[in-house]
């Protein structure tokens, strides 16, 4: 009875893993095929194995400018997020002050807001301020989601550090 049950579970697990991996496998599979092969035949493994697709995405201007843009957004975003989120997380984890819980919750709600809600005003706002189509605009817009999350996570970490360590550090100067 126990053995049988165990096998059923393993079977289910394998079925799910298959379901989970197949789409990814298919994507990887196709990435090594030539365009003609994708469109003309149906094969489970690349017949004419090629790195050409990867070469394209790393050398073609239109592709790698995308990575550069992403990197720019991420860097701007990260710098701003960390500089504003660190002190805030410290404040939340070390002090209690008037309305701290409400502010914390309010930050969290921003993380949960449907992005579509903000789409319209962002468009208007950035056009007005003249930031439209710049890297800063995208980075700023994304702050909305990254800052609350950063504060939230950092707060968790800082609360994990016992206050005694702070105090010892003070004593040591």
């Amino acid at each position: 009875m126990h053995e049988k049950r165990f096998q059923k579970r393993t079977l289910f697990l394998f079925a799910y893993l298959l379901f989970a991996v197949l789409p990814i496998y298919w994507m990887v599979n196709m990435s090594f095929k030539t365009n003609e092969e994708i469109l003309s035949t149906f094969t489970f493994f690349p017949q004419h194995f090629t790195w050409a697709n990867y070469k394209t995405i790393f050398t073609d201007e239109s592709w790698y400018s995308g990575y550069i843009n992403s990197l720019i957004y991420v860097s701007i975003n990260m710098v701003i997020t960390l500089t504003v989120a660190l002190p805030a997380a410290y404040a939340f984890s070390r002090y209690s002050f008037l309305g701290d819980k409400h502010v914390f919750f309010w930050l969290l709600t921003n993380r949960m807001t449907p992005p579509a809600v903000f789409l319209l005003p962002f468009f208007q706002l950035y056009t007005t301020v003249g930031l439209m189509d710049t890297h800063i605009a995208v980075a700023l817009a994304h702050l909305l989601f990254s800052v609350p999350l950063a504060v939230w996570i950092l707060e968790g970490f800082m609360s994990g550090i016992p206050r005694e360590i702070d105090e010892t550090a003070y004593i040591d100067g």
Partner: protein, 298 residues
């Protein structure tokens, strides 16, 4: 946040001031703009008329919105109905220890790491009848499958895609919940001669209650805001079959430039999510403090 021995210090406000300013620029200002739009009829940048609640009334009576809302709720409920049991089942059947456990965890978590628009692209190709594995298989099995032509199939494909993408989250949460049950519980159950089902019903399920509640709320909220994946996969079609709330809103705001109604709807949408978020937040606070008092009724 533990409220135990934290000193009261109002100066801490200065530390969170940067965050407030930042978020004010990217959240409050836009939101105020939305409120502004929702009560005005903007004819041109210079001419705007205060219309009161007209947009709200109009949007509430909008048939398309009703359809999209209904579709959205059905979808979110379907997501929960599939992903939660599947996630629990998956967590139960995952090996508990050793390298097998780690390997399975990695494979299971794989789909969580994929960016949303890529998920859409993967499934778009995967489901195509000519070059996609799934589409081709279904075709071979004699099913006339097309996510671009058939409304039901498009809807099911989006659901399947979401299940593929997010069940791991539920599974990982449930798995974490299962790991936290001490072995003594199982030993006691074995001595009592409890069946597998009884163990699940009276030990595992109550112990997982906290994390499952979080999973339910997270999945509900996220699926309620789903935008990218259906947009990439079906673009809301065929017809309106997979136009969910976010997409409906985007079409209205940017596609048709119906600023007033779109803004009014944005606010309603926002409040729905806010309510859910409030429930979630309070739940998570309580899970941290209250132990599983409801062991009998899960």
């Amino acid at each position: 946040m533990s409220t135990t021995t934290k000193p009261v210090n109002q100066k801490a406000w200065f530390l969170i001031l940067p965050v407030i300013i930042c978020v004010a620029f990217s959240a409050i200002l836009p939101l105020m703009t939305v409120v502004n739009y929702s009560v005005q009829d903007i004819i041109s940048p210079e001419r705007r008329v205060f219309v009161g609640t007209e947009w709200f009334v109009q949007i509430m009576r909008d048939e398309e919105l009703h359809a999209a809302l209904l579709r959205q709720i059905t979808f979110s409920l379907a997501v929960l109905a599939v992903e939660i049991p599947l996630g629990i089942l998956l967590a139960l059947s995952m090996p508990a220890q050793g390298w097998k456990s780690s390997a399975v965890l990695v494979v299971v978590a794989l789909s969580l790491l994929i960016p949303w628009n890529v998920v859409g692209t993967i499934w778009q190709i995967y489901g195509r009848a000519d070059i996609g594995l799934m589409g081709r298989m279904l075709q071979e099995a004699g099913i006339e499958y097309s996510y671009t032509g058939n409304a039901t199939q498009a809807w099911l494909t989006v659901l399947l895609m979401d299940v593929w993408h997010w069940t791991p989250l539920v599974a990982l949460l449930a798995f974490a919940g299962l790991r936290s049950i001490p072995d003594a519980y199982y030993q006691a159950a074995r001595i009592d001669g409890a069946s597998k089902l009884a163990v699940f019903r009276y030990i595992q399920l109550p112990k997982m209650r906290g994390v499952l509640m979080i999973a339910v709320l997270l999945r509900f909220m996220d699926s309620f805001m789903i935008y990218t994946e259906p947009f990439v996969l079906t673009g809301g079609g065929p017809g309106n079959a997979t136009t969910f709330l976010s997409q409906y809103l985007t079409t209205k705001a940017v596609g048709q430039f119906d600023l007033g109604p779109a803004a009014a709807f944005s606010l309603i949408y926002f409040f729905i999510i806010l309510l859910l978020c409030f429930i979630l937040y309070n739940w998570m606070q309580r899970v941290g403090t209250v132990s599983d008092e409801g062991a009998g009724h899960a």
